[in-house]
Amino acid sequence: MTNYIIRRLLYLIPVVLGVGLIIFILFNVVAGDPAPLLLGKHATPQQVHELREQLGLNKPLYMQYFDVVRSSFTFDFGRSWATRQEIFEMIKIGAWPSLTLTIPAFFLSTVISILLALVVAFYRGKGIDLFIRFLCIAGMSISSVAYILFFQYFFAYKLGWFEISGYEPQFPDFFSYVALPGIIWIVLSLGPDVRFFRTVILDEIYQDYVRTARAKGLGEIKVLLKHVLRNAMIPIITYVVIQIPFLILGALLLESFFSIPGLGGITLNALNSSDFPVIKAMAVLSSIAYILFSLLTDILYTVADPRVKLK
């Protein structure tokens, strides 16, 4: 097990190298020159040249890639080109609003989905199953942009139930700002989540051991909770945990529409202004989170199912 974990952690190295390479090629080699952009509408050619020099854009490409690699492993991302802010500081400040939005919303949507999935699995094939499934599918067939526009207009402005936009970092003040975007998040995730969990649960329901359990006279609810849910845990864990790294990046559209100052907005701004150091930092951090959480999934497997051995 320890060996396995070490091996997986070492795997971080090639992945971060790869991510650095992809991002570097896309944004440094192919995308626009950031220098004139940073200097504004009156930039002189001399300034453009000097700034390129200072940003290291005149160095040979392999040297530039080497800088990317170095900063990825030292976490010294430097300063944003566009805002001149310390990138680490930006991420620290931006992570909180993003997480206060995504984590409660993610937690609630997962819990509600599992409950609903159990309900529909219990009533499988009956009217209530069809009804909930239909609602879920219908819910996910509407564009997220449409939800945002309408909910903000109707619930926040017309009915005045929520703040229209903005953010307050203190607990519990932020709840009133993240509530509406959080609800939209939940509405958007219910569809895919319930469908997935239902499938997983149904996969188990037709297994032999379930039949045996039923034959032993266990009630359907007991069978569902004790046997089925437990055995369905592995796919559920995988599905849930692997989404977590992307929670950190926040929800791009929700943050932008509800003026939540999170990482989604930082990423979007960076992409819009060719702010390479920030893009790189976000990509590298998210890939590290991704690897760590997939490792966590593997470890949770062994907890959920002692038969699984990590080699």
């Binding site: 995308a31 526009l149 037709y206």
Partner: protein, 286 residues
């Protein structure tokens, strides 16, 4: 599992699909949309979205079912044109993403070893970068427009399928029928493409319906980011227009595009579910 078994599995699946009323209706919806898209592409019998009626922001009426837009163009005509864009986005991105996913997944799963190591590394690297960054950067490189929407969505859409196929192929590789094929002297490619792949086709079909609707929804988000279709209406640009219209009470562009999208995505979802139920042998005899 002999080839005869496989055939009867498909026949069985088909008969079950047909029995499912909702799936049948959904299939009908998809076909209708495809026909509308085809006719719009060929320019047969479809209203012209370009012609301005001169009066901006007319509310829906008997004459203009979905009202008119800022330029006084018929929103219904725009919805129709949007259908063409949406269906083409779904189709072409699937055509790009699915072969990539199948080939990469199958190679990794079948050969294992260093091939698998490299492909797995690539898949992991690729999926650890947030999708939106890849989407934006590909459109940055390709320049804006429909073509880069196709490519961006196609080139990011294969990862899930590749993983799935890799896993399935790995399982099948150990099965008796493949062992038998190699005993009979079948080469790698014969084994992989003739024996194994037909047995994972159901995954591909289910995935296509998923890919289709994801692509349609992603087009809206790309349009919101200003990276979508240019110079012609799409559901995405219509919803994007609504960003500013809703507060002044113009709801019909949003409603028109959302409704059109809702119906087709819903149909794909139901169809996808039905296909899954029909094709997944595990659920047989439910």
């Amino acid at each position: 599992m002999s080839s005869q078994d496989t055939r009867s599995l498909w026949a069985d699946a088909f008969s079950r699909l047909v029995k499912d009323r909702w799936a049948l209706i959904s299939l009908l919806v998809v076909v209708t949309y495809a026909l509308v898209a085809l006719m719009a592409t060929l320019g047969i019998g479809m209203p012209d979205w370009r012609s301005s009626l001169g009066i901006e922001y007319l509310a829906p009426s008997g004459e203009f079912w979905f009202g008119t837009d800022l330029f006084g163009r018929d929103v219904f005509a725009k919805v129709i044109h949007g259908t063409k864009i949406a269906m083409s986005v779904g189709l072409i991105t699937s055509l790009i993403a699915i072969p990539i996913g199948v080939v990469i997944g199958a190679l990794a799963g079948y050969f294992g070893g260093w091939v698998d190591d490299i492909i797995s590394w690539f898949i992991t690297t690729f999926s650890s970068i947030p999708n939106i960054m890849l989407l934006i950067s590909i459109t940055l490189i390709m320049g804006k427009g429909l073509l880069s929407v196709y490519l961006a969505l196609g080139m990011t859409g294969w990862v899930g399928l590749a993983r799935l196929i890799r896993g399935e192929v790995m399982k099948h590789k150990e099965r008796e029928y493949v062992q038998a094929a190699s005993a009979l002297g079948g080469g790698h490619y014969r084994k992989l493409f003739v024996h194994i792949l037909p047995n994972v086709t159901h995954l591909v079909i289910i995935n296509t319906s998923l890919q289709f609707q994801t692509a349609i929804k992603s087009e809206v988000i790309l349009s919101y980011l200003g990276l979508g279709v240019q110079g012609e209406p799409s559901w995405g640009t219509m919803i994007d227009d609504a960003r500013m219209e809703l507060a002044r009470g113009v709801w019909w562009q949003l409603a028109g595009a959302t409704l059109a999208m809702f119906i087709i995505v819903l149909a794909f979802n139901i169809l996808g579910d039905a296909l899954r139920d029909a094709l997944d042998p595990k659920l047989k005899g439910k």
